[in-house]
């Protein structure tokens, strides 16, 4: 048994860490967040030039053939920098869906570009009524003129305002919450009939709701078999969950480092506040939460690219549940340990705290995954 990264994985993680340290100061991040894209186009270019956007793709696509652990190494470092680039949305999730369900020609059209960073993908699976259930799809795709006509609304599409391709789920048959009858489409972002309501997110990124009004696409926009997308979505969402857990660990690491630093530096009543036992114990609890989260992120990474099974489902649900709870604990207790300064825009801690809470709102919160895990409980 050995939990250490191998030499290649360690090099990969060091590469991302160096890049983030060099290019992603807190002040720069605030500037990137204010741009139209909501992230740094230059940093994205650097990621791709170093081959990092190609990490999870196969070698014939110019990729690295990386699995869960490689993705984890990248995501943790991006988390440490609170990086805003659409690595999760484009490389992991969008690329994953197209790679999983797409035909050879669809992969050729999209994946090379996604792997090289020239193209960005976004993922539009949620809807206003879906909460976190990705099988809850009311958007309709009807056969028309040899292709499909899409109508409906997709909710909170992170990066959807500037992605080149958007992977959209729509119902070709069945009722709103059936797992059967869901299909996936790769929509070019400039397809007629796509209307966007763009907004900043509270954690510094950008996204949009997509209103699909009679969006006509050709038959070759369909990814995979008609009506059979639920399994693909579930599997790829699992990969994205593992990646998100890794990001969260990076965010928590920095949040804890900042808090510990503050406890040592800040003096009240003539001593560093870290001398007070109530704060010592709280910091220990934050540390323990991080270790719980780290363990689950490692476990999630180890099953991310395994064949689907109830065991994989359980691990991913458990990991996201733990990450949600640990993240909220560290966010809230970190703010409390800092006092007022932990709530200011000018100090980076608050931005880590916000990201941790918002990670709980991506791909299912701790309640959602607790329910999912409970539904998969094994008999004793």
């Amino acid at each position: 048994m050995d939990f250490r990264l191998n030499e290649e994985q360690q090099m990969l993680q060091d590469t991302v860490a160096r890049l983030v340290r060099g290019e992603y100061s807190f002040e720069k991040r605030l500037e990137f967040s204010e741009t139209e894209a909501g992230f740094s186009v230059d940093f994205w270019k650097q990621l791709s030039e170093l081959g990092l956007t190609a990490v999870p793709f196969s070698e014939e696509l110019g990729g690295f053939g990386g699995g869960g652990v490689e993705v984890q190494s990248v995501m943790t470092e991006l988390g440490r920098g609170l990086c805003l680039e659409p690595y999760l949305q484009s490389v992991i999730f969008g690329g994953g869906l197209i790679g999983h369900a797409g035909s050879d020609s669809q992969k050729e059209i999209w994946l090379g570009g996604i792997a090289s960073g020239e193209l960005q993908a976004a993922v539009a699976l949620q809807e206003p009524q879906s909460f976190y259930d990705l099988n809850n799809v009311e958007t309709r795709a009807e056969k028309k003129d040899g292709g499909y006509l899409l109508n409906g609304r997709k909710a909170v599409v992170i990066g959807g305002h500037c992605a080149d391709v958007i992977v959209v789920s729509a119902r070709t048959s069945g009722d709103a919450r059936d797992s059967g009858g869901i299909s996936l489409f790769a929509l070019k972002s400039d397809t007629a009939g796509i209307e966007r309501r763009v907004y900043p997110t509270i954690d510094g990124s950008k996204g949009c709701d997509l209103l699909l009004n009679n969006v006509q696409v050709d038959a070759d926009a369909l990814l995979g078999e008609e009506g059979k997308a639920a399994e693909v979505i579930e599997y790829q969402a699992g990969r994205a969950i593992a990646a998100l857990c890794a990001e969260a660990v990076g965010v928590m690491e920095v949040a804890n480092e900042l808090t510990l630093d503050y406890l040592k530096q800040r003096k009240q009543f003539g001593v560093p506040i870290g001398k007070f036992q109530v704060l010592q114990h709280r910091m220990v609890d934050m540390m323990s939460e991080l270790e719980q989260a780290r363990s689950m992120a490692i476990l999630a990474a180890s099953v991310a690219d395994e064949e689907q099974s109830d065991e994989r489902r359980r691990v991913l649900a458990a990991a996201k549940n733990v990450i949600g709870r640990s993240g909220q604990f560290i966010s809230e207790q970190g703010i409390q340990s800092h006092g007022g300064i932990g709530m200011t825009w000018e100090y980076n801690f608050a931005h880590y705290a916000k990201r941790l809470i918002m990670i709980n709102h991506q791909l299912g919160d701790d309640d959602f995954h607790l329910e999912h895990y409970a539904s998969l409980l094994q008999a004793g």
Binding site: Q126, P128, Q129, F131, Y132, D133, N136, A155, V156, I158, A176, R177, R197, Y199, P200, T201, I202, D203, G207, D209, K267, Q268, F269, F276, V278, L279, Q328, E332, I335, Q336, G339, G340, G342, M343, T344, W345, E346, A350, H351, A353, K354, I357, M358, H361, Q362, D365, D367, L370, E371
Partner: protein
């Protein structure tokens, strides 16, 4: 044991309800209940209505324009006004500096400042915390040196809520460095327009400008602006903090927030059914509602003892901790109730005059921001850790 209101108290409650039914503008109440921003005009419009009723300075003695409500009457007002969506009065003048001036100020100060608080002419802010003096307030360093008939003030205050609108600030300043920290502090009233004062905004994590830093550079303050005696300010400050703390449990606000949460959860959908029918979520709501029920009774027990002539003691510290935890839990649930829509931050929907289409729910936009903003509840007014220190010292003798 009698947990019921008296006939007179019930009559008072009816009077409050009748007043709010008739006089509270519906547009203002809707904004308060939806956690949207109020315009300055909204605040002024409401203060005028409240003043006309004679209820703005309800706890002041009658001779200064108050009505001297009993603790139970104050409680009734608090409950009803939260339930109806009455805008919160900015407390620094009417609820904070005024009681200090009334109790410790001289006649001239009473005649000068109290009417201007009543009329809304003066907007007060609080100069207590400093960058190096938060929980350890007595270590404050802002210095006031007597020179003739003035004090010369140098230093810095922070977390000054709504200081950007204020024309007056009440400050704790150090007038004596030779004695124990608490013994060298004085309570000064300072005109914000005095040369040498500058205000710098502090933007909070939700993007709001609510708090400020206030800098003092050779600021000349007339000695008649000293409240009470020199070096006795700590006593007045503690008196004020007790006043502040009794309101900080926010039971009425939590009740209003809970009712808002339940309405929201009835509109939101999970698995094709209203979220409020979902087992997991309804149990979360139930738990916080039960906690609030208990805290509500604890609050009444404190009020009843004060009504009987007692002083709110360390019990109010316990209630501050519980009450703020409950309100933060309600904010947590409201954010959870909107699921993925907690992520977008559609600031324009917070505007008092927003008339566009809402991204998701009409009340969704403020929920994440409010959750983050209300992390302050367990920090300000004496952090919850400090409150627990008070309880362990005063009640437990530890």
């Amino acid at each position: 044991m009698n947990m019921n209101y008296t006939t007179e108290e019930l009559a008072f409650r009816d009077e409050v309800r009748a007043f709010l039914d008739e006089k509270l503008p519906a547009d203002i109440a809707a904004k308060v209940k939806g956690f949207r921003h109020l315009s300055k005009e909204d605040h002024q419009r409401w203060q005028k209505i409240l003043s006309a009723q004679g209820w703005y300075a309800s706890h002041w003695p009658e001779e200064y324009g108050g009505v001297e409500w009993t603790p139970v009457q104050k409680h009734i007002w608090d409950e009803e006004s939260c339930r109806y969506g009455v805008p919160r009065s900015v407390p620094f003048g009417v609820n904070m500096v005024a009681p200090v001036i009334i109790k410790f100020g001289n006649e001239e100060q009473k005649q000068k400042y109290l009417p201007r608080i009543l009329s809304g002419e003066d907007w007060w802010c609080q100069g207590y915390s400093e960058p190096g003096a938060g929980s350890d307030l007595a270590s404050l360093k802002t210095r006031a040196v007597r020179e003739g008939d003035h004090y010369i003030v140098n230093g810095q205050k922070t977390w000054t809520t709504l200081g950007q609108y204020a024309n007056m600030i009440f400050c704790l300043v150090r007038t004596n460095t030779e004695v124990k920290a608490q013994a060298g502090i004085s309570f000064l009233l300072i005109d914000m327009n005095t040369p040498g004062i500058s205000v710098r905004p502090i933007i909070t994590l939700d993007g709001e400008h609510e708090v400020n830093e206030v800098f003092f550079e050779d600021v000349k303050v007339p000695v008649e602006n000293l409240v009470g005696e020199e070096d006795k300010g700590w006593t007045y400050a503690k008196f004020l903090l007790t006043y502040e703390r009794t309101g900080l449990a926010g039971i009425g606000l939590s009740k209003a927030a809970l009712s808002h949460l339940k309405a929201l959860a009835s509109r939101r959908i999970k698995n094709g059914r209203p979220l409020i029918e979902d087992t997991t979520f309804s149990q979360r709501i139930a738990k916080v509602e039960i906690d609030l029920m208990a805290a509500g009774i604890s609050n009444l027990r404190i009020i009843a003892s004060v009504e009987g002539g007692g002083m709110p003691g360390a019990e109010s510290s316990m209630l501050k901790v519980k009450g703020t935890e409950i309100r933060q839990s309600i904010n947590d649930l409201a954010r959870r109730a909107i699921g993925p829509y907690a992520i977008p931050f559609v600031e324009e929907e917070l505007n008092h005059d927003y008339d566009g289409e809402f991204l998701s729910d009409e009340n969704a936009a403020p929920l994440s921001a409010q959750y983050f903003n209300n992390r302050k509840l367990s920090i300000f007014g004496g952090s919850n850790e400090i409150q627990k220190n008070i309880v362990s010292k005063m009640i437990l003798g530890l």
